[in-house]
């Protein structure tokens, strides 16, 4: 069984009288352990697809199964549960909480997973040292560099041990050297067995993956292995 299975998935936004088909009958299967890049220009629908895959949004029509959960007509709690346990997010803008230190930021998903506080701290520390930030635990995001912030975000995405990692333009706010380092971390994660889905507009970054899906006007126009 596939890890992610989309069939005839559509997302329609209504702006006034106008209907905008952000996604138009998309079919897609992602197996466990794949390294996929979703590529497309701005407004192509790749972000919408990403949000649907990431359980941040609900489809207008079609079937969607993620990690064995039927999410065609999901409840909000069901979506939150999948986001918490099955998915890790890495964003372009890091999306860390500036008021919390590194450990608390990393431990955030564990709070909502109901993990007791001692275990939360231990696991967050472990995740921090896994991404090489074992010595910056008490720092807060404004005191860190962009690359360090993104590593905190990766640690946070991994702390609850999800099967899938979604990254939305993870190197967009970084210089090329730091970006390359972050991408190498994704390579390593893929090698360790995680499913990695990378959303980007940059063909060079997409080329690091094993399978590239090109989206244009809400449809998958091309699929190829780089």
């Amino acid at each position: 069984m596939s890890l992610i299975h989309l069939e005839g998935l559509s997302k329609v936004y209504r702006v006034g009288d106008q209907e905008i088909r952000a996604l138009d009958e998309v079919n897609l299967r992602i197996e466990e352990g794949e390294f996929i890049a979703i590529i497309g220009s701005s407004g192509s629908g790749k972000s919408t697809l990403m949000h649907l895959l990431g359980c941040l949004d609900t489809p207008t029509a079609g079937r969607m199964e993620i990690c064995g959960n039927d999410l065609a007509k999901p409840s909000n709690d069901q979506l939150a549960c999948v986001r918490n346990r099955e998915i890790g997010f890495v964003f372009q803008a890091f999306n860390l909480l500036p008021k919390l230190d590194v450990v608390s930021n990393i431990a955030l998903p564990l709070i909502y997973a109901g993990v007791p506080s001692r275990e939360r701290l231990a696991r967050a520390r472990q995740a921090a040292s896994d991404v090489g930030l074992g010595d910056r635990l008490a720092n807060r995001p404004p005191q860190l560099s962009g690359g360090q912030c993104q590593r905190v975000a990766i640690a946070r995405a991994l702390v609850n041990n999800p099967r899938t990692l979604f990254a939305d333009e993870p190197t967009g706010n970084l210089d090329s050297a730091t970006g390359r380092m972050i991408l190498e971390m994704f390579d390593a994660l893929h090698a360790s067995g995680k499913t990695v889905v990378l959303v980007t507009h940059d063909p060079a970054i997409a080329a690091r993956s094993r399978r590239v899906i090109e989206i244009c006007d809400g449809r998958i126009t091309r699929e190829y292995a780089p």
Partner: protein
Amino acid sequence: MNPLVSISIGLREIAAHKFRTALSMLGIVLGVSSLIATMALTRGIEDGTRIFMQQMGGLELVSIVNKEPSSRKFEFANLSPGRTLRDAEAIRRSATFISHVSPEISLATAVATDGGGNPDRRMVRGVYPDHFVIAMHQIAAGRFLTPLDLERGARCAVVGETVAKNLWPGIPPPLIVGKSILIDNRPFEVVGVLPLYEMEEQARARRSGRSISRRWDPFRQKNETVLVPFTTMFHELRSGAFPLDSLETMKLETLTVRVGDLDHFRPALDQVRRILDITHRGVDDFDLETRQDWFDRMESSVRAARLSGGLISAISLIVGGIGIMNIMLASISERVREIGIRLAVGARQRDIFWQILIESMLVSLLGGLLGIVASLGLIEILKSIAPAENVPVLTWDAIVFAVGFAIVAGLVSGLYPAAKASGIDPITALRYE
């Protein structure tokens, strides 16, 4: 999600915006402190009333008072002789549950002097020996009036402390006994002197030499009284003014009885009522007034005071709640992105809801605690203003009630912001700058 986590998140949020939170708490602080102060004040009045009642005579006392007869019996009203000595005698003989009966007449115009040029206009009262028990008198020197005095219509008098001090300044009570006093130019022998009656507060102030502030004194009447036998009063002092009265038919000024045993209070009242029905020939021109009635009357005025004070405090708590709601709404629109991040990592809508609600309750709880502190100061101020008998009394239930009310205000005012926050769409929130 563990509520403790929500609490710690909330506390951190409060700590991050101290000034803003303090401002939003102000209404709650005022509400809670005024609520506690109001309750302390009314409690003080209640306590003072209770002490006063105890000192003025216990619950055993029942006054028989005049009443307008009901309209049905209005035409027969003049058949009733009214309250007379016959009532007193009938109650004494037939009402087995009544231990003491004290009929009383008085003469407010009497002038008492020491025989020299020391006039003192006092309330002279004609009483029975039972008056000693009913009015809760003690004796400082000499003796009280006896049944023999009454029977013989003896010209003897018992004087209150203030009277004794005015007429014979500087002379101790034992030496006053045996002196003669002129009441309306008739010589009476002073057979007894009453002690000085005062509130504990006054006694303490007097002993420590502090000046006693001029306040209403519940014992003034007792201290300024001159008591003579009932019969003497009638024959010597009253008959001239009311020549048509006989001792039996003369209307009494007050008639007070004492129930022997509080366990038989209701039966005792029934007995008295039945006896008076006969002596008043069926005309209901009398009523029995218990001290409980007095107490209830005072109680209801205390209740009214508490209600109005509580209402004002409640309004300020509501205003305080609105203040909290305002701040919570501002806080949410500042934290849209944070809420989005929390949702993205797996927070459920209800986690967000509870977090905002708990935060709002924390603010109000904190305001409540500050309100307690403020109320302590407020009560100190009230203590210096309120009369000594009615010192405000701080009670635990007042504190619990006020803080409970504050938390409820926080809960109610947090509901809307919490609902609003939990309805935030994660994608919009994550894009929010």
